[in-house]
Point group: C2
């Protein structure tokens, strides 16, 4: 199987319904997209490397899902509508079964978001997937990191920490094995790590609901919130007891529970801010997008990040964000 | 040096003059671009892997240049104006000197094309560079592979084959060492491999000069021309003796000379077609873009690719295109 046959067999297929922006897809020097008149283009790129972002024996269907999901999540965090994506793929060898699985996971998610594959590259090399995703957003509607204002509420979609617990289980970490039990990693917990749900419906609803800043949680809540605070020149007071707690995390020792909740990484939930007078609209956006959101803190004019316990007392936390080169 | 410090130190810098499309650059979940009203977005992605696309000891400045150049070349082949690019980078380690060299080569070319870095990703892993580039083109002006028509002239920018000769020299191949001489690889020949010149000024001029189809030569002329013929449902008669011949190729044995010329790969020249009544406009586009072009064949209604010698006789050629998985 040559390079072009590989592409034709696994990656060239009809455009999904609703992907009207694609003028020209796979097979030319460039893809051509026609964004809606006046709209801005939102672009994000994420690279997944074997041994860093996934285990060598990962289910290829889950990997295909995740490679696109983490990119769609960036569009969600800007409030942008997906238009399409490219996939650049380095493969140690051309394994048909593996590629078919990868394509299945990739296209199932792409179809669900009307976000077609429009181009890319294939080469031989250590396994590496680089997805670049394109979306559109009306001028002034993008949810930027620098848009948080003192007095804003801080919201979290879904809940954090399960992906980290699943990761530690797969790594064989003692406390995670103890918590997840002798029966092994259950499917739901594994899916939180391997098949994250990007929050695009919520992100788009938020852009029209008066939300200010947003970020998607990939490196852990504390670090990712830090990006908003730094970019916006503000601080935050966060309430640990208002953070939704997954059942799987309840039995963890406190230190590990907080580590998972606040610095877990790979959550792909949205953390966002909105002024108190937007609460009804945020609630409506949550309902419309069928995505739970919780109010977990507020933005302060004074810089710095404080975590408060149920009694409003400061909790000293050591949690920090994931860093590939730290 | 952590991940964000690495980005700040090496990749975050002021936008080059003329890059007015960038609404939001590095540092948020997505970059935001504002294309010109009504224009289409042209997108291409190329992944460069150590050992496949470059040698481990390559000058990082040349590598930075090439990673962007091969992508700009795809925009050139569509006739699109560059707007910006993303870089996803997997690095075995964070080596400041190496990164500074890479950034130097990357930004020198980016500045020359007013094509700013707007985002990307950095991670640890086997060395891999994935650039995705964005350009714009007016509707109907893109130079597509399926647009060649019977009777069109076939043109080539610059000349082919030197990159392949340089590659074979660096590989230590006997005939290449014999041809390049005891003095070793000269700087000009090495630059043809390591610092290709994307033909963007020509590509944009062609889009307004009535050219039909175009492709950039990355895998070798024969294979790349084959993509145009297949997509357009046509054939071609090509004249070997009209192909510009670099001085370095003149002393090669015939078989190797033809291999370099017609299937060399890594040329990053434009191969394009235009109707005979556009010859004066093509000539003007060549002059305006200061890029030599040569008429080297013509498109036929009958499918198939024929190569003719100086006497108009068929030359049987075994040359074929590069394929990562063949």
């Amino acid at each position: 199987m040559g390079e072009f046959e590989l592409i034709r067999r696994h990656f060239q297929r009809p455009l999904p319904a609703g992907s009207s922006a694609v003028v020209l897809g796979i097979g030319d020097d460039c893809a051509l997209l026609q964004p809606s008149p006046g709209h801005q283009l939102a672009i994000s790129s994420d690279m997944l490397v074997e041994g860093r972002h996934f285990f060598a024996d990962v289910d290829p269907e889950a990997l295909g899902h995740k490679a696109l999901a983490v990119n769609l999540s960036d569009l969600a965090a800007m409030g942008a509508r997906p238009l399409g994506f490219t996939l650049a793929l380095a493969l140690p060898q051309a394994d048909n079964d593996w590629l078919a699985g990868l394509a299945r996971g990739l296209f199932a998610l792409a179809d669900a978001h009307a976000c077609p594959l429009v181009g890319g590259d294939t080469t031989r090399g250590p396994l590496n997937l680089c997805v670049t995703v394109f979306g559109e957003v009306a001028p002034g509607q993008a949810l930027r990191r620098d848009a948080a204002r003192a007095g804003d509420d801080v919201y979290l979609s879904g809940r954090t920490g399960e992906a980290r617990l699943a990761l530690e289980h797969l790594r064989g970490t003692g406390w995670a094995l103890a918590a997840t039990g002798a029966a092994g990693l259950n499917a739901e917990l594994r899916a939180r790590l391997e098949r994250p749900t990007p929050r695009n419906a919520l992100g788009r609803a938020l852009a029209g609901a008066g939300a200010h800043a947003a970020i998607d949680l990939s490196d852990g809540l504390v670090g990712d919130l830090g990006h908003i605070l730094l970019a916006s020149g503000v601080g935050a007071e966060m309430r640990v007891h208002d953070m939704p707690l997954a059942p799987a995390l309840r039995e963890l020792p406190l230190a590990q529970r907080l580590e998972c909740l606040l610095a877990g990484g790979d959550d792909y939930e949205l953390l966002f801010t909105a002024p108190p007078d937007a609460r009804a609209r945020i609630e409506a956006a949550s309902v419309r997008s069928a995505t739970p959101v919780a109010r977990v803190g507020h933005i302060t004019a004074a810089p710095g990040l404080r975590w408060l316990d149920a009694d409003g007392r400061d909790m000293p936390l050591a949690a920090r964000s994931f860093d590939h080169f730290a």
